[in-house]
Amino acid sequence: MSQVSRADDIEFLKEQAKTVRIGILKMLAEAGSGHTGGSLSAADVATALYFSKMKHNPKDPAWKERDRFILSKGHAAPLLYTVLALSGYFDKSLLKTLRKIGSPLQGHPCSKLLPGVEISTGSLGQGLSIANGIAMGLKMDGMNSRVYCMLGDGETQEGQVWEAAMTAAHYRLDNVCAIIDNNGLQIDGHCCDIMALEPITEKWNAFGWHVIDIDGHDMKAILGALDEAEGIKEKPTMIVARTVKGKGVSFFEGKVQYHGMAPTSEELERALKELE
């Protein structure tokens, strides 16, 4: 049985997302480096997954019936570590060790070192293929677990993403639910200037996916989309979560330079005031 009971309480999840953001900022400030913007933009979706939607058991990370979460945009590791720690996969005190020598909290997630990480990621464009393989294996075994896969929008410039898009549709992997954290930014600037992605919805539709477009910070919309995806048969689902990079901290929001910059202690203090 899942340790985390389904909590449809939107207010609880909103509060929890705040706690997650605070955790992300604190660990990044402590580490002195890491990816702030993309951890914050995906925080609401990850919170909805880990504290409401997903069946999982932090006491038994290998529980066969669990739903899987693949963080294809592995640089959002601080987000993954925070939701895992808050779920109870490991002691919260470990969060302080992010990026330090000997820590299981590597700069990018390492499945060999940290319970709850399904597979190591960090090189963009590869997670959806892995999610598909897991989904195929689950189907073969008659399991009804679901596989969630979080991608960055810039990440979908990788050709392999579209190979995997075809595979999921071809093999009718309706147990796959991918989410694009559509924050409009990548490292060198706005996605539309670097390598335009739109029309995102139409592209995934054309690749045979069921696509749901939502405001990725609206908890009710997120839960609604995740529920809708579960009801879709014979097709994988893509949730295009329209988000703001750096969401939750006014002076990080929409700022391309905070992609890979950790908050200074002064910024942390200001950020915490805004959030708390």
């Binding site: 390492c110 499945s111 060999k112 399904e118 597979i119 190591s120 990621t121 960090g122 090189s123 464009g125 590869q126 997670g127 959806l128 293929s129 892995i130 999610a131 598909n132 393989g133 897991i134 989904a135 195929m136 294996g137 689950l138 073969m140 075994d141 050709g159 392999q160 190979e163 995997a164 075809m166 595979t167 071809h170 093999y171």
Partner: protein
């Protein structure tokens, strides 16, 4: 020694047998199942076969995912595409996380023949050998290939197996038992020892006979596991003869020759001559003519051994 079997054909048969015995075996291919011979498995077990289409990176990722659910995936395509196009996927997922995925590639080396350089993988051993956690196996013939497929199914971890397109002579004895990491000593020579892998094992055995007629005692060691190398066998050969010749259908850089040189230089320095593709690309032509053109014949080995002894 009359029989000739392509290692890819032996793979197709071995995979089918394995599929009958173990239901966790799943097979993935990238639109080359007829050539890699995974089609044999696909025909009998369609529900355990995934054609991923012409997308090798996705092939590797999907195989990785299947292994995470406890399946035993065999992912096959041509060596140049499997290890080249998808190298980083292999590194980031299979090697880094030490996943139980078997990468069995066919059409390695110049004996791909007429298709030419674009299809002739001569760097795949180097590409796989450099990856942590990876085991690299180059079977010499059909008998060894069958044994290798059975052995790697019982071994938990990532393995790269390098197979060929062309028919090659059967050289291993019927009662041969392959063990990962163990060489097979045909003969240990007092004058020179040839350490060979793959198709070059049979060529080396021919060279051994030719040298014998000239009064030169050359030995031949089949080194199917290039990583981890059988260090004991290499030392034994070096101690017995003082001249080592490596022979492989691969670049002289980074393959079996490289592995033997690295080991001997640090542990028991003796002169080494490397037979292989000399830092160049292949080209189109019939297999046997290409073997001559690139210096991979028994005559080339004989000449190299004699040169090495003359120093």
């Amino acid at each position: 020694m009359g029989e000739r079997i392509a290692t890819r054909d032996a793979y197709g048969d071995a995979l089918l047998e394995l599929g009958k015995k173990r239901k966790e075996v799943v097979v993935l291919d990238a639109d080359l199942s007829g050539s890699t011979k995974t089609a044999k498995f696909a025909k009998v077990f369609p529900e355990r076969f995934y054609n991923i289409g012409i997308s090798e990176q996705d092939l590797i990722g999907t195989a990785s995912g299947l292994s995470l659910t406890g399946k035993l995936p065999f992912a096959s395509t041509f060596a140049v595409f499997e290890t080249g196009r998808a190298w980083e996927q292999i590194r980031q997922t299979i090697s880094y996380s030490s996943l139980n995925v078997k990468l069995v590639a066919t059409h390695s080396g110049i004996t791909v023949a007429e298709d030419g350089a674009s299809h002739q993988a001569i760097e795949d051993i180097a590409l796989m050998r450099v990856l942590p956690n990876m085991t690299v196996i180059v079977p010499a013939d059909g008998i060894e290939t069958k044994q290798v497929i059975e052995a790697i199914a019982d071994f938990y971890g990532p393995v790269y197996v390098r197979l060929g397109r062309s028919k090659v002579p059967v050289v291993m004895p019927d009662d041969y038992k392959f063990t990962i990491g163990k060489a097979y000593r045909f003969h240990i020579g007092k004058d020179a020892n040839i350490i060979a892998a793959g198709i070059m094992v049979s060529v080396s055995l021919d060279a051994m006979e030719m040298l014998k007629k000239e009064g030169i005692d050359a030995g031949v060691i089949n080194m199917p596991t290039v990583k981890p190398l059988d260090n004991d066998a290499v030392i034994e050969a070096a101690k017995a003869s003082g001249l080592i010749v490596t022979a492989e259908e691969h670049s002289v850089i980074g393959g079996l020759g490289g592995a033997v040189c690295e080991f001997l230089a640090e542990n028991y320095p003796v002169p080494v001559k490397r037979i292989g593709i000399k830092d160049t690309f292949g080209c189109s032509g019939p297999s046997d003519e290409l073997m001559k053109l690139y210096g991979l014949t028994a005559d080339d080995i004989v000449r190299t051994v004699k040169q090495g002894l003359k120093r």
